[in-house]
Point group: C2
Chain length 290, copies 2
């Protein structure tokens, strides 16, 4: 029997992201004990019954002192407070990673709250579905073949980064590295902006007196385009605000693009419209999710 790489892991927020991390590491046989903290006693109890965690944590200070790894898997808006609660008590060998969808804000929080222990924090963003939530939605295979982006800090030692990377790889993930600024710019463009645009279209239709007639004739194009408009309003409010600088920049570029298309339409510029659509189609038809 191989020696577990992690004797004890502490997870804050035992939902889809945190619970799946625990289950995956258990399945890989690399963790001995998992302790869970969270705001919902019912969810924690369920996590225990489902075998996701061994114990429900009672004393944050005591649990993080001898943990090998702490995962922060709460909404990003709660991380600053959480960091301030654990900062003083972190053991010298305890590494921290997180599951937040935005990184610059989490990194800013880490510098502010963790102080001299910021080197122990290796930020991460697992790109895995968030349509369900809660411990009951967690699964050992959630990260299998999925991307996890690490955005290491200059203060991190190579060993710390390697160990956190190894944990995510044990979950089955393909780990990539970006700076937190690169990360937020990339996700503003390919994730946050599309969500905002989809919400905006449906919100626009929702204001209309004839919305029922409009929706009764909507078909598969509308269905796919607006699927992400059924995402969690609270989660997306937080993501948009957390990444608002990069998102605002993308939004302005996009509005400029729409104004150009509006001009082409108004002047009946068939060639420009076709060229725009053609360029888009070439890129999209040649793309497959990796």
């Amino acid at each position: 029997m191989s020696q577990p790489q992690f004797k004890k892991i502490v997870i804050f927020g035992v939902g889809l992201i945190g619970g799946s991390f625990a289950l995956a590491l258990r399945k890989a046989g690399v963790v001995e004990e998992v302790v869970g903290f969270g705001r919902s006693a019912g969810n924690l109890q369920q996590a225990k019954e489902l075998g996701i965690i061994d114990r429900i944590g009672q004393d944050v200070a005591a649990e993080v002192r001898d943990a090998d790894l702490v995962l922060l898997a709460t909404p990003v808006g709660q991380m600053a407070e959480l960091m301030s609660r654990i900062a003083l008590h972190l053991g010298g060998q305890t590494l921290i990673t997180d599951g937040g969808s935005t990184k610059s804000d989490v990194v800013r929080d880490a510098y502010a709250q963790l102080g001299g222990k910021v080197a122990q924090f290796v930020p991460a963003h697992p790109i895995a579905g968030a349509e369900q939530s809660g411990a009951a939605a967690a699964g050992a295979d959630l990260y299998m073949g999925k991307k996890v982006i690490l955005t290491p800090l200059p203060e991190n030692s190579p060993q710390a980064v390697a160990r956190v990377q190894a944990a995510w790889e044990e979950c089955g993930a393909n780990v990539h590295r970006l700076t937190h600024t690169e990360h937020d710019a990339v996700f503003a463009a390919v994730s946050h902006l599309p969500h905002l645009l989809s919400f905006a279209l449906v919100h626009d239709l929702a204001q209309r007196d004839n919305r029922d007639v409009l929706l009764s004739f909507a078909a598969s194009g509308f269905r796919d385009f607006t699927r992400i408009a059924a995402s969690s309003p609270e989660m997306w409010r937080d993501i948009c605000l957390a990444n608002r600088e990069a998102l605002l920049k993308e939004l302005q570029i996009y509005i400029a693009e729409l104004n150009k298309m509006s001009g082409a339409l108004a002047s009946g510029d068939a060639a420009q419209l076709e060229q725009t659509f053609h360029t888009a189609r070439e890129l999209r038809a040649g793309w497959t999710e990796q």
Copy 2:
């Protein structure tokens, strides 16, 4: 054996739309003979081999003179010329319908080209997938359970409308009626605008030096939002131009919506963002394609 309701049907453009119409009416046993015209000899030959049409038409004048029903299933940009070719030769009992995705432009063409015979034209828009094309893509079940919108003209007799409606219903479609103006306003909002927005996002990314990095991190939200950006550039150029007044109006409303969201983001107005997302999510989550 029941008497066919249509002794002879002539189809211009034997592709997905035209070919499926023929196959569906054959399957329903309500047509005796189908004659096909088109620009591609190879496609017509294939349509004949596949049993979609009985004959490849040679003489437009002779064929439309004694037809019960003519279907115009070419791209909308070609309909004016086609109407001008058949107008003089249409028999007094020959009805015409079409499969165009926009209606105001087709109706305008009909008044201009068909003259006194415009009463014989009952415009239609079948809401059925257009991802494939050509006779080989046609199927007898394409319209089963799908919507077909009729936009009758004031000149149409109730009998003419009923007979064209019956033909689409024999294909398995659920027939709805709108005016051509209503039709174009509805589809500008729920179909043409989303296509334009999806093309615009992908075109925007295609301009960037780091597009490969951006696309390598795109996931399922991006995939669904941009699926329609792989649609035919030529077809969507024509649809956008054909319906440009209604589409420009929608585009301006949408840009105003984005400017409002940009303001909320810039000022960090969490409540307004959440309210916008919440309203959108409520509507979208409660909607199912009919």
